[in-house]
Amino acid sequence: MSDQPKIELRNVSKAFGSNHVLRDVSFSVTPGESMTVIGGSGSGKSVMLKCILGLMDVDGGQIFVDGADVCAMKQADRDDVRTKFGMLFQGGALFDSLPVWRNVTFALTSGRYRNSGEMRKVALDNLERVGLGEEVLELRPSELSGGMQKRVALARAIAPRPEIIFFDEPTTGLDPIRTDVINRLILELVRDLGITALTITHDMGSVEKISDRVAMLYDGRIIWSGPVGDLRRSGDVHVDQFVMGHADGPIA
C-alpha cells in the first residue's frame, strides 16, 4: 500500500455567514481504506464531502487527492480529478426524468442516448450487485420505494468504477436486511476492488461493520480519530455519548 494518502485535508475551513461549519479540519484516507466520519446532524459532514468534490469552495486550507492540491487547480483539471470519485447522495438524487437504466449509466454516456443495448446490460450488471434485477430497468425513480432508490443510486455511483466512493448516509431508510446488503457491498468494493471509501453516517452498526478507521466531527473540528476497534474506548466524552446514543452529555 502506498504511503501517499488518497485524500488528505489540511486545516480546511468553511463558513456560511457567521456559521462556521468546518474549522481547521485535517485528516487523511489511505488508498483502499474505508474511513467513516461520524457526527451529529448539521455538524458539517456533507459540506466536507462537497468541499472535497469541488461542489463547494473552501474558505481556507488545502485538499489533496493523490497528492495534488485540488483547491489550487483550474476548473478543467478539477473536473478531471472528479472522474476519480463516485458519490452516493443521502436522498439518492436520482434523475426523475430518466428511467433506471439511464440513471445507472449516466456517467458512462454523459447523459447522452448511445449504445442503448450495451448500456442496458451494464446497468443490469450494476443493479444485480445491489440486489435488483431486470424488472426495474425501465422504471422511473418515482415508481421505486425509498430503499430501492437508494440501491439504484448506489449502482449509479459504482457503474463508472471510481477509485474513491463517498457514501452519504448509505443505509438511512433501509430495513435491517437491506442495510446489511449495502454494508456488505461497501466492504466488497473496498476489499475486492480496492476502492477507497469515505462514509458519513449515524448508523453505528454500519460504522462498526464497514470502517477501518473512524473520525468524529464536532463543532466543526475532528475531535477524535482512530481505528474502529478503538471507537468504544476512545476516552473522549463526546465520542462516548454519540456512540452510546445518550441524550445526556456534553453534546446538546
Binding site: 473536473d79 436522498g91 449516466f106 447522452r112
Partner: protein, 266 residues
C-alpha cells in the same frame, strides 16, 4: 445607561432605498455572468442535440394552443377597437393596416413572449429548482456531466430558436382574427382587406418581430434557468424560484421590447 445614538432617520431612509438598488444591480450582474458562462460552455463540446430538440418541442409545440388562442382573440379585438376609434375621424378603412402593423411589430411578439414566459419560465425554474434542492444537480456534476451544457444551454438555445417561429404563427393567426371580424362583423371586402394588409406590411416589420421574439426567447429561458439553478430552501424555495422566474421574465420582456423599439425607431 446605554450611550447608543438613535439612528439618523435620513440615513435610514437612504439605506432603505439603497439596499434594494444595490441588490438589483447585484442580481443584474449575477444574471449577466450566468448568461455569459452558459454561452461560453455551450460553444465547446459535448453538445446535446437531442436535449435541444426535446426543449424545442416543450417550448414550441406545447405552447401552440395558448399562443394561437391569444393571437386570434387579440387580433379580433384589435380590429374592433381600431374600427370604433377610427370612426371618430372617418378612418375606419385603416383597420387592416393598423391590425397588421400592431400585430407584427408589437402585439405578436410581446403577447407570445408573455404567454410563453408564464408557461415555460415557471416550468424551467420548477424543474431545475427541484433538481437543485434534491441534489440532482450535484449528482450530475459528480457523474461527469456539466449542468450548464446538459440543462441550461439546450433550454436557452431552444427558446431563442423557437420563439421566432411561434411569433410568426401568432402574427398570422392574429391577422386572421382581425380579418374574420372585419369581414363577418364590420362588413369589409375580403379581397380589399387582404390587399391592404399585404401592401402595408414591410420586410422591416417582420424583421423587428423576429428580433424581438429571439430576444424575448433568450430572456424567458435565462430567467427560468437562473431562478432554478440558484434555488435554495426546499419546496418553499422552489415556489419562490418559480415566481421570481415569471416576474423576471415579464420585466425583461417589457424592458427589452421598449429598448428594441426605441433602437429601431427612436
Amino acid at each position: 445607561m446605554s450611550n447608543t445614538a438613535a439612528p439618523n432617520p435620513v440615513i435610514l431612509f437612504f439605506a432603505a432605498i439603497g439596499r434594494p438598488v444595490i441588490a438589483a444591480f447585484a442580481a443584474i450582474g449575477h444574471v449577466t455572468l450566468f448568461a455569459l458562462h452558459t454561452i461560453r460552455k455551450a460553444l465547446t463540446p459535448p453538445w446535446y442535440p437531442l436535449r435541444l430538440f426535446e426543449q424545442m418541442f416543450q417550448i414550441g409545440w406545447a405552447s401552440l394552443p395558448v399562443v394561437a388562442l391569444t393571437a386570434i382573440f387579440t387580433g379580433a379585438a384589435l380590429a374592433q377597437q381600431i374600427y370604433t376609434g377610427g370612426s371618430r375621424f372617418n378612418a375606419q378603412s385603416t383597420v387592416p393596416a393598423i391590425v397588421v402593423i400592431a400585430m407584427v411589430r408589437e402585439l405578436g411578439p410581446v403577447l407570445v413572449g408573455l404567454m410563453v414566459a408564464g408557461r415555460v419560465s415557471s416550468a424551467m425554474a420548477a424543474e431545475i429548482g427541484t433538481m437543485r434542492v434534491t441534489e440532482q444537480i450535484d449528482a450530475m456534476v459528480t457523474l461527469r456531466t456539466d449542468p450548464y451544457r446538459y440543462l441550461i444551454a439546450p433550454r436557452l438555445f431552444a427558446s431563442v430558436i423557437t420563439l421566432p417561429i411561434l411569433v410568426c404563427i401568432a402574427n398570422v393567426i392574429g391577422i386572421f382574427g382581425g380579418y374574420l371580424l372585419s369581414i363577418y362583423k364590420l362588413g369589409f371586402n375580403p379581397a380589399n382587406y387582404l390587399t391592404m394588409t399585404a401592401d402595408i406590411l414591410e420586410f422591416d416589420d417582420i424583421m423587428m418581430s423576429l428580433v424581438k421574439a429571439a430576444v424575448f426567447g433568450f430572456f424567458i429561458a435565462l430567467s427560468g434557468c437562473y431562478a432554478g439553478l440558484t434555488t435554495r430552501g426546499g419546496a418553499a424555495g422552489v415556489g419562490r424560484a418559480t415566481t421570481n422566474a415569471v416576474v423576471g421574465a415579464f420585466i425583461l420582456i417589457l424592458l427589452s421590447n421598449l429598448i428594441v423599439t426605441l433602437t429601431a425607431f427612436g
